[in-house]
């Protein structure tokens, strides 16, 4: 009895999913979500190993601050100022990290909470929106559903994701060299500062992208969890990178599907899926004794 109940439940789920999938905007949203997840996982390994994890976090708060400026200015296309603003912050953070009066992590903390406070202040004081707390919440934790993305946003996300993937593949060996041993790379004449800058810019782009999917507070999870999970099991840079990309795509896909079916917020559902995956990978890593 209960088994047939379950089966019909399953059928009902699949029917519901099929119904959703018939709409083109659902398919677009799905594709964009998966592409964003792919991009955000790529540089995760580098970020974790270079001890840059918090730069991602700091930048996402900056993105929130800039986003609120865009909201106050009533811009329809927020990307126009959010992207350059975040890239600028990334470059500045990296510069301060190098010749620091205020050390790296403190600078990041300063910029990140500062941007958060100013963002909220601006939105609260000047926003013309009737649903202020709703606006703030969706900027912080992502839209309730990825389906609210406009056609234009979908296009921009898709283009930027493709660019990020191409840049990553093209500079893969350089990124490895700079991450593994900056000193040696520099001595061999590799332009380490230029590549660090490139990494920072790509991170900024990824964060602006991921903001659409999971909101600014949850971006770090999207960047770091797949890399950490993958490092539990795999031992070479290539395999870690490839697996974290696969894992991230997998989690994003399931997160989006579950959020549509269960009506949960898409960002936190994806992050929850990433956390579960991390748990499973840790267990596998422990039993196979890789760490």
């Amino acid at each position: 009895m209960s088994e047939t109940g379950k089966a019909s439940d399953g059928e009902y789920m699949i029917d519901k999913l099929m119904m959703y999938m018939e709409y083109p905007f659902v398919r677009y949203a799905m594709i964009v979500g998966v592409m964003i997840a792919l991009c955000s996982s790529l540089l995760g390994v580098t970020l974790v190993l270079k001890r840059y994890s918090f730069i991602g976090d700091g930048l996402s708060h900056v993105a929130f601050g800039v986003m609120s400026i865009a909201a106050v200015l009533n811009l329809t296309n927020t990307m126009i100022i959010v992207l350059p603003g975040t890239i600028l912050a990334a470059v500045l953070l990296l510069r301060t990290g190098q010749n620091a009066k205020i050390k790296g992590d403190a600078a990041i903390a300063m910029i990140s909470v500062g941007a958060l406070a100013f963002g909220y202040l601006l939105m609260n004081k000047f926003s013309t929106s009737t649903n202020l707390s709703g606006d703030v919440c969706s900027t912080l934790f992502g839209s309730m559903s990825i389906l609210t993305l406009t056609r234009r946003e979908v296009t921009i996300c898709a283009v930027l994701s493709v660019i990020v993937v191409i840049v990553f593949i093209y500079f893969y060996h350089k990124i490895f060299a700079v991450t593994f041993d900056e000193t040696f790379a520099k001595s061999a004449g590799t332009r380490v500062n230029a590549y660090n800058l490139l990494i920072a810019v790509v991170i900024a782009v990824i964060i602006v992208l991921a903001m659409n999917l999971v909101g600014s507070l949850l971006i770090s999870a999207l960047v770091i969890f797949p890399a950490l999970s993958s490092m539990r099991i795999f031992k070479t840079f290539k395999s870690v990178t490839v697996f974290s990309a696969i894992l991230s795509v997998f989690c994003a896909f399931f997160g989006i599907v579950i959020s549509m079916l269960a009506g949960t917020p898409v960002g936190s559902t994806i992050v929850a899926a990433d956390i579960v995956a991390f748990g499973i990978c840790s267990l596998i890593g422990r039993f196979t004794g890789t760490r």
């Binding site: 004449g189 070479t236 395999s239």
Partner: protein
């Protein structure tokens, strides 16, 4: 002309000088050991030689067709490397980075070079192993193979035997000596003066007294005698 000529060179960080008025030459085929007390600026000096930092004063000239990017450098270990997921092969290949310029992938010639150098260092069977799971001696061989990919002429090694046990240390010295016999110029920082005078043919002593000359002259010099005596009393002097 010498591969490297230092003229009245002063080195340091952020405008602060740690060693000054250094004059020395490294000729093709030499084996130069840099010795000196802790904090005397040995590491700072080699970082200046591989152009990681700018000299505070004076100059370094590169001759005999040696470009600064063509020096194989073996730096001290960093924190990042301790839990880095990378295979031996990936790391050795990264030694070819200066050859590839803006080209995105390594070509077959570079892959062969990496394979040859792994063979030379006796780590071919480790090529798919994870770097962080290797022993200290094996890790140094990997980094040495990487440095060899970057150069045909000169290796600069920053305390390559620190933290290694005596047996592995001896093997490491033999390996470097063998490379030197094959024609590669060696510049090595060492805190182990006994091995330094055993293998090297030139000594650069920096610190309170500065000395540069051939090994035999050094052993008879005042600086050499004092330093040898200090080390034989306390083998840990200069050890870090």
């Amino acid at each position: 002309m010498a591969l490297i000529t230092a003229k009245d060179l002063s080195v340091g960080y952020g405008g602060q000088t740690v060693a000054e008025h250094l004059n020395f030459k490294v000729n093709s085929g030499d084996y130069l050991c840099i010795v000196g007390e802790n904090g005397s600026g040995k590491s700072t000096l080699v970082k200046t030689l591989v152009k990681l930092i700018k000299p505070v004063a004076g100059e370094v000239k590169y001759g005999d067709g040696l470009m600064p990017g063509e020096i194989g450098y073996l730096p001290q270990h960093t924190v990042v490397q301790r839990d880095f997921p990378a295979s031996v092969k990936e790391i050795v290949l990264s030694g070819c980075q200066s050859r590839m310029g803006l080209r995105p992938f390594y070509n077959s010639e570079e892959k062969k070079l990496a394979a040859d150098n792994m063979e030379k260092m006796g780590i071919t069977d480790l090529s798919n192993k994870c770097y962080r799971e290797l022993s200290g001696g094996q890790q140094q061989r990997v980094l040495l193979a990487r440095a060899l990919c970057a150069t045909k002429k000169m290796l600069i090694l920053d305390e390559p035997v620190s933290g290694l046990d005596p047996k592995v240390t001896a093997e490491m010295y033999e390996l470097v000596a063998k490379l030197n016999k094959e024609g590669i110029t060696i510049v090595m920082i060492s805190h182990d003066i006994k091995s330094a005078v055993e293998y090297a043919d030139h000594i650069l002593h920096i610190g309170n007294t500065i000395y540069f000359g051939s090994k035999n002259e050094y052993l008879n010099s005042k600086a050499g005698k004092i330093f040898m005596m200090m080390q034989s009393k306390d083998p840990h002097v200069g050890n870090r």
